[in-house]
Symmetry: C2
Amino acid sequence: MKISKQYVPPTLTVDMVIFQIIDGHLQVLLTQRARPPFKDVWALPGGYSGVGYTTLESTTAVVKRKAGVDINQQLAHVEQLHTFDTVARDPRGHAVAVVYSGYGQDIKPVNPLQKTKFFDVDGLPEIAFDHKDIINHARDRLRTRLAYTNVTAAFLPSRFTLTDLQTVYEAILSRKLDRRNFRRHITSLDMVHDTGHVKTSGAHRPAKLYAYNSLSIGVIKSRLL
Amino acid sequence: MKISKQYVPPTLTVDMVIFQIIDGHLQVLLTQRARPPFKDVWALPGGYSGVGYTTLESTTAVVKRKAGVDINQQLAHVEQLHTFDTVARDPRGHAVAVVYSGYGQDIKPVNPLQKTKFFDVDGLPEIAFDHKDIINHARDRLRTRLAYTNVTAAFLPSRFTLTDLQTVYEAILSRKLDRRNFRRHITSLDMVHDTGHVKTSGAHRPAKLYAYNSLSIGVIKSRLL
DNA sequence: GCAAAAGTGTTTGGGATACACCCATGC
DNA sequence: GCATGGGTGTATCCCAAACACTTTTGC
């Protein structure tokens, strides 16, 4: 390209991949598109990002408006995923999309105009644009994060049982883990601690409730070489 | 933000962090800025990205023009790093920068107008904009990639000794590794193979030359949980 | 023969995996 | 007392780390 006085930037958009775990299944939030292109097809919540607003600010506004989800209140963690910019990805014209991913727990989307709901990532409907690729990208990222961060905290309430935590790991990894080995692994990480409380939930022994040592999501071990 | 007919996108720019390793030191390519802001201060090569061009296409053009480096010919690997978008990062106005990182070997930058050269990452001069943060981000990413990809191939010629390879690891990790353990680690990875040739380079035993099994950079082990 | 880098082997500790039994509760 | 999920211990294997001597070459 040439730089010139006629410089015209592409449209800048934002999209968001919001994950939560329900009944042991990883789910992603989608909204049904209100207008063409892809009218009535399911898509990630997204919209325009204009000059003067960071892409995260735009994302916050767009997700609130289109999906009724308050990023700051209802998501425990948000991070930038990737920027998608192929010229043909939007039939209306060249749009560069900065995509964020967010994780939360017990999220209730609200949209008075369009259908907005969570889908199991393994049972997705037809998806608009390149949003299927974006979801897969987010899913890979989340899986990778498991190994060296405390990102699982974002999917759980402040107090939880080790079985709850194991369910989160299993939903993200899509495989079963051995309970005894899992518990030893977790306790050796110095990531959670016993709160002294228990949860009684039926005709069986009550489970101890745990809490994360750190409230923020970050790296917990480095594993270099 | 509001969506309206007066939608104005921010300026879209691209920057590139190019790393190579010289004499056991990780180096990054910088160019001296030709005009304000930050005139004569060192910065990452970068420029505008206009409608109709992917950010990678724009990056390719900009890096060729401002630093004389041909991304396709002289870099063994390029990947998108992150998008930086704080409103205040450019004093001229809101600019969203999609940043790429690239790795190569024996790169000779050429710029007839402005000074363009490689600096040791541990001996950087004053840096324009938020480019120091960007370089650190790229460095962290590179370090992380070491553990589970064959990214080191990008820093080496097609045939190399295990000592050469160890030098690459040490430059990126900023620490010395035990030669015996390093060699066992590498050979256990099934990532390189003995070519049957040797390199004689002085008053000592010749070293075997190795080559990567795969020509492309990618994940070589998964390590999940 | 000596300097300089290449090449190799053993031991030890910790984490990952595989696997089976007892505990506390509601009904 | 029995069904249900919670909680624990042991043996094995593999990988990471610590560590020192021999080999091949040029001069």
